[in-house]
């Protein structure tokens, strides 16, 4: 692979090209095992290979990629990357600047694994999924059960014209299950440990063992059935307690994306949108209550956003984002950091594979825990609702107006969790919502959730990210039954 990288770098050593970096990802492997209603709805072992060549003139980038890892196709796409950059330069009136970040001479990063999922048979996993899926069907009302396992292995070689070089092998795994109960047009879902495929970690099979899918399946099936008869969630402003799982997605949508510096500068305006954060407000903007502390930590063990170096060769970092409710940092790349006038990138430029150019992405964007147990946090609630496990999610293109539905809710009455309610929806405006947070769960309520499906960019790139979140309490939130 080093030879291919040298081939590409020497091909683009042409007048006008001021920088080049090359990534080879081979194999980029993805195994998905799914059992749906007793049948194998998708057992797939996917291995792809790609080389991506990115070049920069003093005015524009060019990126080209191929799945053919031979020298001649590599030279061809390297030349095409240069043609693209030169063509793109025609319309650029100002120079393109990037930060001067030191890159590794020869780095290595490997996921620490106890049981490597890619060095043994998947038979036991299929058996586990079959057992769990079967156990979801606690009654005829459960019309659909699905249990899934996913694992990714990314083997990467990186080299740049600045002399940087590293290799990495990163492994992510996860699993989950969902029961769908149906009565007429009343459709209720319960998932564990989370919706959207479950929970994920940078780990081996040992992580999946710890999820106890088979043990939890009957309870999940019963909860889906119970929701069919539960009253609709009451409507009105109320005290909302969010479980760690839903709060992780709230952080993702209303903090993580909003603090991506490329969005803030308008690079994503034509697709995903921009941000309510203005560049000049970084350092002074009130994002939430004093209890709110958020960090982007690409060094946390087990995170899907944990790595040695990002896809520009910048070392993983732990960056404060919100400190005591004030926005103090962002997620950044070498280009966006330079645009803000920073000396160094935040090291969060990530690509979904060798076939994509790096973009500013989340790493592990975590809401730091407070000091209350769940019981202590509920004690302060005379009347409210506890909601958890995402069912629907949507937010505007500046990351202000959001609406989330969750799979279930429970009424809170005089500090106690009570009756189950169905179809709960809550909505709000990002700064007002975070400003209403008046209690945070302690470390015992905190979990690092893995989200494997964050989409961004054109062509679309799926990123795997994590969010640490405790439980939290919010006052006067608009809640209703859908």
């Amino acid at each position: 692979m080093e030879d291919l990288i040298r081939t590409a770098l020497s091909t683009v050593d042409l007048p006008g090209v001021v920088h080049a970096d090359v990534r080879v990802v081979a194999p980029d492997r993805f195994v998905q095992l799914a059992v749906r209603n007793g049948a194998a709805s998708a057992l797939t072992d996917a291995r792809s290979e790609a080389i991506g060549v990115r070049v920069r003139t003093d005015r524009a980038w060019g990126f080209a990629t191929t799945t053919d890892l031979r020298p001649e196709p590599t030279r061809e796409i390297a030349r095409l990357a240069v043609r693209l950059a030169r063509a793109a330069s025609r319309h650029a009136r100002t120079p393109l600047r990037v930060t001067d970040d030191l890159s590794p001479d020869r780095g290595q990063y490997h996921t620490p694994l106890r049981r490597d999922p890619f060095s043994s048979s998947f038979e036991s996993i299929v058996e586990l999924l079959s057992s769990a899926e079967k156990a979801l069907h606690v009654s005829r009302s459960v019309r659909s059960g699905i249990a899934t396992f996913q694992a990714w292995e990314e083997n990467k070689w990186y080299g740049s014209s600045e002399g940087a070089s590293f290799t990495s092998r990163i492994v992510h795994v996860g699993a989950g299950m969902t029961a769908t109960a149906v009565r007429g047009s009343n459709v209720q879902r319960r998932s564990a440990p989370s919706s959207h495929g479950g929970d994920f970690s940078q780990a081996g099979f040992e992580f999946v063992d710890g999820l106890d899918l088979v043990g939890r399946a009957p309870e999940i099936g019963q909860e889906a059935v119970a929701l069919l008869d539960a009253p609709v969630c009451p409507t009105g402003p109320t005290t909302l307690v969010l479980g760690s799982d839903q709060l992780a997605l709230q952080v993702h949508e209303s903090v993580g994306h909003a603090v991506e510096l490329d969005r803030i500068f308008g690079s994503e305006a034509g697709f995903a949108g921009t941000s309510w954060v203005a560049p000049e407000k970084i350092g002074v903007l009130r994002y939430g209550s004093d209890l709110m502390n958020v960090v982007a930590d690409a060094t946390e063990p087990g995170g899907l956003g944990t790595f040695g170096w990002d896809d520009e060769g910048v070392a993983a970092q732990r960056t404060p984002i919100v400190h005591r409710g004030v926005l103090v940092g962002t997620l950044s790349s070498r280009e966006s950091a330079a645009q803000l006038g920073l000396k160094h990138s935040g090291g969060t430029a990530r690509a979904s594979g060798g076939d994509r150019a790096p973009l500013v992405r989340m790493t592990n964007v975590n809401l730091e825990p407070g000091d209350l147990s769940l019981e202590e946090l509920l004690e302060g609630v005379a009347e409210g609702v506890y909601l958890d496990t995402n069912r629907s999610w949507s937010i505007d293109d500046r990351r202000l107006n959001f609406q989330f539905g969750t799979e279930f809710g429970r009424r809170i009455v005089r500090g106690e969790l009570g009756e189950l309610v169905r179809n709960p929806i809550y909505s709000g405006m990002t700064p007002a919502f975070w400003g209403s947070m008046d209690a945070l769960g302690n470390a015992s309520t905190r979990h690092l959730w893995g989200l494997p499906n964050c989409g961004k960019g054109q062509p679309i790139q799926g990123a795997r990210v994590s969010h640490g979140a405790p439980v939290a309490r919010f006052r006067k939130v608009a809640v209703r039954g859908g």
């Binding site: 998708a42 080209a64 799945t67 693209l84 629907s392 505007d396």
Partner: protein, 457 residues
């Protein structure tokens, strides 16, 4: 003219690997060769140009009725044999798929030669970036000082599907799409306008027209807040396309029918829209991005979904046709597709146009809102077809049959079935919108659409 770039990589021949499968094992293979570019622009410059040449292979085997798939990027004989071995190893541990009918022998009528643009498939990097430059020039001329962002995608894809029952078919598609946002972020609140379009022929994209249209749709005055509530709405093409994409999944996706949660499960053959509404899925049409076969090699065909307001049946692939005991409609996705809830779904939607101009839609609506497009639409309640999302990039108030002022954006939470049933008028001009497949629609007016909250801009 700049020299053309190299052609898409050639895929290998899957037939020998299929013939080498051992007794009791059958299979199907997809070889996809693609070459395309996406030229992204923002802040007045091309900031992310991307060029890709790729081959992907997906080999599904059935060990009896145990199914598994292996995918890779090596379409050589050795690469295909390796995929077959991987898939066989995985199939041996798969649960039995009792309703699997086996891979089908070739049958049905070829749709013949579909629309394809050789010049689109062989555009050079310089020509592709020129399309983006045309958009940038048009917006600068129409809205000097505004921020422009968007993307142009051009290229081609060749899909070959073969199976153990003797099927061996190929489809080639060319595609071009462009989108443009014109924005004034310096206004308080910021304002923006949008346009997009797609075609199988890049020469028909009309990039300057898209840039001009986006600039014209940007509010010239400050958007005012509008109270959430139910309004009559005129939905421009991109908004209609979004609603129909969700209807396609929630109402015509096969898994919802198999599992009983489709929002149209109990309404097949019944009226769900006025008689003026006819929605068809037709991947062969010249008014879409044509595709001759699905990912199992079944010929695509025109499939009525809503005929004169009456709901039709779901679409199928091999597995769901077996489960539902229905005919194959040619809507298979790649078998390695992520665990989508919906299963095979319509992907080349065409809504019959009416005869109204956009001005007439507004005039007849009298009082309500114009919505240019939606953002971040998600399912809230699949059984009732309820979805939510935001308006974006051009929302206007209609009073006395005229578009009188821009409105701040609103969140809708509404059943796609309510929107469909309330259609009062259809526009006469259709355009292709591309994303997940293609959707070809006019603007429509609908009687009642529920907005549940508002945002600050």
């Amino acid at each position: 003219m700049a020299p053309r770039r190299a052609a898409a990589p050639e895929g290998g021949d899957p037939l020998p690997a299929l013939r080498r499968l051992p007794g009791g094992t059958t299979g199907d293979v997809r070889v996809i060769s693609a070459a395309w570019m996406t030229i992204r622009f923002a802040n007045g410059r091309i900031h992310q140009p991307h060029l890709e040449q790729s081959t992907s292979v997906s080999f599904r085997v059935a060990d009896g009725r145990r199914l598994a798939t292996a995918t890779g990027s090596d379409a050589s004989g050795a690469g295909l044999d390796a995929l077959a071995a991987t898939a066989r190893a995985l199939a041996r541990i798969a649960p039995v798929e009792r309703k699997f009918p086996g891979f089908v022998a070739p049958s049905g009528r070829s749709p013949g030669r579909l629309a394809f643009s050789t010049s689109t498939a062989s555009l050079s990097p310089e020509s592709a970036t020129s399309i983006a430059e045309e958009i940038l020039d048009a917006t600068e001329s129409e809205a000097a000082g505004a921020r422009t962002a968007g993307a142009v995608t051009v290229g081609s894809e060749r899909l070959r599907v073969a199976n153990s029952s003797g099927l061996d078919r190929t489809s080639a598609s060319s595609f071009a799409r462009a989108s443009v946002l014109v924005q004034r972020p310096d206004r308080d609140p910021p304002v923006s306008g949008w346009s997009e379009g797609a075609h199988w022929d890049a020469g028909r994209l009309a990039p300057a027209r898209l840039g001009k249209e986006a600039a014209e749709r940007m509010a010239k005055t400050t958007p005012a807040p509008v109270e959430p509530g139910s309004y009559a709405v005129v939905l421009r093409g991109p908004a209609v396309a979004d609603l129909l994409r969700f209807l396609a999944h929630l109402g015509f996706g096969a898994n919802g029918e198999v599992e009983g949660w489709s929002c149209l499960a109990r309404r097949r053959g019944k009226r769900v829209a006025p008689a003026s509404v006819t929605l068809t899925d037709d991947a062969r049409s010249r008014e879409t991005i044509p595709q001759a076969i699905d990912y199992e090699g079944t010929w695509t065909a025109a499939t009525p979904l809503i005929h004169k307001g009456l709901a039709g049946n779901v679409v199928t692939d091999l597995l769901t046709a077996g489960r539902l005991k229905r005919r194959l409609t040619g809507h298979a996705q790649p078998p390695e597709a992520p665990f989508g809830d919906y299963g095979p779904s319509p992907s080349h939607l065409l809504l019959e146009p009416g005869d109204a101009t956009e001005d007439e839609l507004v005039r007849e609506t009298r009082r309500g809102l114009v919505v240019t497009r939606f953002h971040y639409v998600r399912v809230v309640d699949p059984g009732r077809g309820v979805i939510t999302g935001m308006t974006r990039d051009g929302t206007y108030v209609i009073e006395n049959g005229e578009m009188v002022r821009p409105a701040r954006n609103l969140r809708f939470t509404e059943s796609v079935l309510t929107a469909l049933a309330g259609i009062t008028l259809l526009g006469k001009d259709r355009r292709i919108y591309s994303g997940e497949g293609a959707v070809t629609v006019p603007a429509v007016a609908t009687r009642s659409f529920r907005f549940t909250s508002a945002t600050l801009f």
